[in-house]
């Protein structure tokens, strides 16, 4: 990494800690979040009603799905236009675009959604990835209608989780994701899809059980009158109780994240899922776990996080090293990327264990960065698989001679994933290391090997797949078409743009983190 880059990052980081902002004023429409969340459901209903007989109808269905994922994307970006002009100042005052309606009055559950500096990047991420996933599904020929209906329902659940401000609503959205994902893997997956889908289901349901228990206990111990997340986060709880609750929530989110040793569902699910679904799984569904840890574990029980930071650190370091070493020995490219996800999500935990502003900022940024970058990697694996019908590294070789554009995209994405400066992943990991080093020296030292290893397994794979002698079987290989190249270029451009101008995100995230970090015992600076 160049010195210049370091200076840029240091400047960005300085800016984070020194951020003071005037209170925001806004008269934005108050149905905006609902549009982002529920529009895909409308899409699912429309797709359900469309005729489904021939190729023509399939085209209509695809276009409808594209439309109903494009609108939330546009809304999510346009609506927050102020964040681009004033660098997120609008979010310095906490939640924006809040909607609060009475729902289950008898129990104090409300329809309460909103956006803040933590959720906004993740809503961006999910709207981007769903749009791209639909684009990448244009070639889907099997049971087209059901496929897009499930994809759109999945969208509702995921965006809902990132915007819910009521714990009951959070749980509802959290659960919506389960069945569509189960069916997407089960019906459209690879040869071992049945095994992978059931494994995914069992892990996820187990996780939900912990979440539900945690929510119930928290609700009652905090007075039993409200599920409002901001109120609950301020609840005065005995330290022992907070510790129990922390572990209940953490168990759920660690399965989703996933952290070692609860990660075993992930390689299977990712490998068997069809490419666009893998993109969503790695790109967004894992982020639900990371978001939960930061929003609920850190936000509600900062004392417990601090108390058990060594345990979290251990999970983090083992996940990073285990994931990296496992990735090193994979022959299946998709499996390799899947294990790299375990390692990269370990960095999120590392940031949480450090429990200071910079590290947490890095952790949120890492969620965003990994979502985009791993999305790219899975799409690229899919593009190779579509052409060669294999993902085995051994069987490939020298592809760069026949598919130069694909090779370039791969190299860029791999560099981004390995944390090379200039890409957003670097900023995230750098922030995490800065924050973590001041808190846990040995743990951080070990975790840095994860970066070295990631460069190792990615570059080694590139070498074996794209360079060297071209094998006989691949002489007729062609580069991807304009559609595929289009969305790849789009995604990689975002990875690069945010990498050179991370301040847009870091400042935004910092506004979101301010209420959390202010409650960390000992300041959390």
């Amino acid at each position: 990494m160049t010195l210049h880059m370091l200076v840029t990052v240091a400047a960005a980081v300085n800016n984070i800690t020194g951020a003071t902002a005037p209170p925001a004023t806004s008269s934005a429409p108050q149905f905006l979040v609902s549009v982002i969340v529920w529009f895909p459901l409308l899409g699912a209903l429309v797709v359900m009603l469309l005729p489904n007989r021939g190729e023509q109808d399939h085209g209509n269905i695809r276009n409808a799905a594209l439309f109903f994922t494009a609108i939330p994307l546009v809304v999510a970006f346009l609506a927050n236009f102020s964040t681009w002009t004033e660098l997120g100042v609008a979010y310095s005052g906490g939640f924006k675009f809040e909607e609060n309606y009475k729902w289950l009055g008898a129990f104090g559950a409300q329809y309460h959604v909103g956006l803040d500096g933590i959720s906004l990047p993740l809503v961006w991420l999910s709207t981007i990835l769903f749009f791209v996933a639909v684009l990448a599904s244009m070639g889907q020929k099997k049971r087209v209608k059901e496929y897009f209906v499930l994809l759109l329902v999945l969208d509702v659940g995921v965006t809902g989780v990132f915007t819910a401000m009521d714990l009951f609503l959070f749980f509802i959205f959290w659960e919506i994701e389960l069945i569509p994902m189960f069916l997407l893997i089960l019906i459209w997956g690879g040869p071992r899809r049945s095994y992978a889908a059931w494994k995914f289901l069992l892990f996820t349901i187990g996780a939900s059980a912990f979440l539900l228990l945690g929510i119930l206990i928290l609700y009652f111990k905090a007075g039993g009158t409200t599920f409002d997340m901001q109120t609950l986060s301020q609840a005065k709880l005995a330290p022992e109780l907070a510790a129990v609750l922390f572990w209940l929530f953490f168990a759920c989110f660690a399965i989703k994240l996933p952290a070692f040793p609860l990660h075993t569902w992930l390689p299977d699910a990712h490998v068997e899922a069809p490419t666009p679904v893998s993109v969503l799984l790695a790109g967004i569904l894992l982020k639900m776990g990371g978001y939960g840890i930061i929003r609920i574990c850190v936000g509600f029980f900062p004392g417990a996080v601090q108390k058990y930071s060594l345990a979290i650190l251990t999970f983090a370091v083992v996940s990073i090293l285990w994931g990296s070493f496992a990735a090193l020995v994979q022959d299946d490219m998709k499996r390799l990327v899947a294990y790299s996800s375990v390692a990269h999500m370990g960095f999120v935990l590392l940031g949480v264990a450090a429990l200071n502003t910079i590290a947490l900022n890095g952790a949120v940024l890492q969620l965003f960065a990994h979502g985009l970058i791993t999305g790219c990697l899975f799409l690229l694996v899919g593009l190779i698989y579509d052409r060669t019908h294999t993902r085995s590294i051994k069987e490939l070789g020298g592809l760069a001679q026949k598919t130069p554009y694909l090779a370039v995209a791969w190299v860029v994405a791999a560099f981004a994933s390995a944390g090379l400066p200039g890409f957003i992943g670097f900023i995230a990991e750098f922030e995490i290391f800065i924050g973590s080093f001041s808190a846990h020296k040995v743990g951080t030292f070990l975790a840095v090997f994860g970066v070295v290893l990631s460069a190792g397994y990615l570059l080694w794979m590139l070498e074996r797949v794209f360079f060297g002698a071209l094998k006989e079987a691949w002489h007729k290989l062609k580069d991807p078409g304009p559609l595929e190249l289009g969305y790849m270029v789009g995604m990689l451009t975002l990875v690069f743009l945010f990498g050179v101008a991370p301040k847009v995100l870091t400042q935004l995230i910092n506004y979101g983190l301010a209420p959390l970090t202010s409650r960390i015992p000992g300041g959390g600076a």
Partner: protein
């Protein structure tokens, strides 16, 4: 009792008259046995009259709510008409209507007895309605037997089928045994207190001390009633009857008979046995844990969908019992009862929709085997989807209505200090997802069993439609229903 107070029996009177009209009218219309046209006519007649009668009974119930805002007691303590009774009667009549719709086409197979089938649904419902109002030992027993005997006949309706006859026989034996147990309990209660009016019984009990005989009476009464709700220890009949009975009858047993049983159990617990709430709370907490675990674990290995749903209904009885446990504490009593009433409505409509779906599958495929449903979504997407949504609602997957029902009983149990029971229930709930989803998986798998698209008549579609409207959009308005149910719940404690 005056003639004027007969109006409080109007819903029951309407149901009895309709039942008799249906049976007699069917006999007249089906004079030339064997003529297909006559059979069709008889079926249409009894179906329509049955539905109209039920609608009229619902109207009468509504009229009674408007008329008297406070609980009425027209027969000096034996027949009570409060919000709770009206709520229970309302859902029972509603369930009867949906059952008629589910069984409309199926009843063709009972020819020349199709009208009797619908008539029995109505008469059994009357038994259930009396159970909801009964507050006196002899009346409650007669009401219970009215329901049970109608059901014994209905379960064995396919008399030429071995499974159906066997199921009917088993049902009769276990039913008779549990009736005997209940009678023993009631007899001991009467012996100890000298009263048959349950409120008077409660007064005597609360004055006296706890004797071992009283404990025995309590366990026997609750044990005897657990037959109807399908809870441990009288649960063994459930899977056999569910599998063997004709599907519309299974639907009816799983919904109406259970709801009626719950109505009676709740009435007994909140009147005669109220002074012993500490004792039955602990007893039922243990029963709940055993019941749900047993139901869920055994359901895992089933291959017949109806049998599987039988075990699942045992598990659901366990969940509902959590609400009863919460009723043992005075401060959570209304919460627990409200949760149960909501659960009964939701579970009833969801289960009816499920059986309507299975009925459609059975009609087309000829079997309720889970494997026989393989790939059904390719042929009949609508049925596969509605059936899946019903099953997911039974699993308790948000945002479907079944989740809210479960959540409320969990909430009530935790509130009452039974967090361990909620823990058991949450684990059970997770386990249950596996077997419900096995059916969903089968419906959506690629390798399809051969066959044509299913033929589904308008009556069955209506039943499915009712189920879907209750499962999907009602979650948004769950509040309204919860508040109604809690109102009914508070009323039961006004004596």
């Amino acid at each position: 009792m005056t003639v004027n107070s007969l109006r409080f029996f109007l819903p029951e009177i309407i149901m009895v008259v309709t039942g008799l009209v249906v049976v007699l009218g069917g006999l007249v219309l089906e004079r030339d046995r064997g003529m297909a046209r006559d059979g069709e006519r008889a079926r249409m007649f009894s179906g329509l009259v049955g539905l109209v009668g039920c609608a009229a009974a619902l109207g009468a119930l509504y009229w009674l709510i408007i008329q008297s805002r406070s609980p009425v007691d027209p027969m000096s303590g034996t027949f009570i008409m409060d919000y709770f009774a009206i709520y229970m009667k309302g859902i029972l009549v509603l369930f009867a209507m949906v059952t008629i719709l589910v069984g409309y086409r199926f009843s063709d197979r009972f020819r020349p007895h199709q009208s009797e089938f619908i008539g029995l649904v109505l008469l059994a419902t009357v038994g259930g309605m009396f159970m909801a109002s009964a507050r006196e030992m002899i009346e409650l027993y007669v009401a219970l037997e009215t329901l049970s005997i109608s059901l014994y006949v209905m379960v064995a309706f396919n008399k030429r089928e071995r499974l159906s006859s066997e199921a009917g026989f088993k049902y009769l034996i276990v039913g008779a045994a549990s009736s005997a147990v209940l009678l023993y309990g009631l007899a001991i209660l009467y012996g100890l207190t000298g009263r048959t009016d349950l409120v008077a019984v409660a007064q005597v009990i609360s004055q006296g001390s706890n004797s071992p005989a009283l404990m025995l009476a309590m366990v026997l009464v609750i044990g005897g009633l657990s037959f109807k709700i399908g809870a441990v220890p009288f649960h063994q009949w459930v899977p056999d009857v569910y599998q063997g009975a004709p599907t519309p009858v299974t639907a009816f047993v799983s919904v109406s008979s259970k709801a009626a049983g719950w109505g009676l159990l709740l009435r007994v617990l909140t009147t005669g046995l109220l002074p012993m709430s500490h004792q039955w709370q602990i007893y039922l907490a243990v029963v709940a844990a055993i019941t749900m675990t047993l139901g869920n674990v055994t359901a895992l290995s089933q291959t017949s969908a109806k049998r599987l749903l039988g075990y699942s209904s045992i598990a659901h009885a366990g969940y509902i019992l959590m609400g009863v446990v919460a009723m043992g504490n005075p401060d959570t009593a209304a919460l627990g009862l409200g949760a149960i009433l909501f659960y009964l409505l939701v579970y009833g409509l969801t289960n009816l929709a499920t059986f309507a779906g299975i009925q459609a599958v059975e009609d087309g495929v000829g079997s309720d085997d889970i494997e026989a449903m393989a790939g059904l979504s390719r042929r009949s997407g609508g049925i596969a989807m509605t059936l899946s949504i019903s099953l997911l609602s039974l699993t308790g997957i948000p945002p479907l209505i079944g989740f809210f029902a479960k959540f409320f009983v969990f909430l009530a149990a935790v509130q009452a200090g039974f967090a361990w029971l909620a823990l058991v229930a949450v684990i059970n709930s997770a386990v249950s997802a596996v077997y419900y989803l096995r059916i969903v998986r089968s419906l959506y798998q690629d390798e399809a069993a051969a066959g044509k698209p299913l033929r589904v008549g308008p009556a069955l579609w209506t039943a499915l439609g009712v189920g879907m409207t209750s499962i999907l959009p009602l979650a948004i308005f769950a509040n309204v229903f919860v508040e109604r149910a809690q109102k009914a719940a508070q009323a039961i404690f006004l004596r």
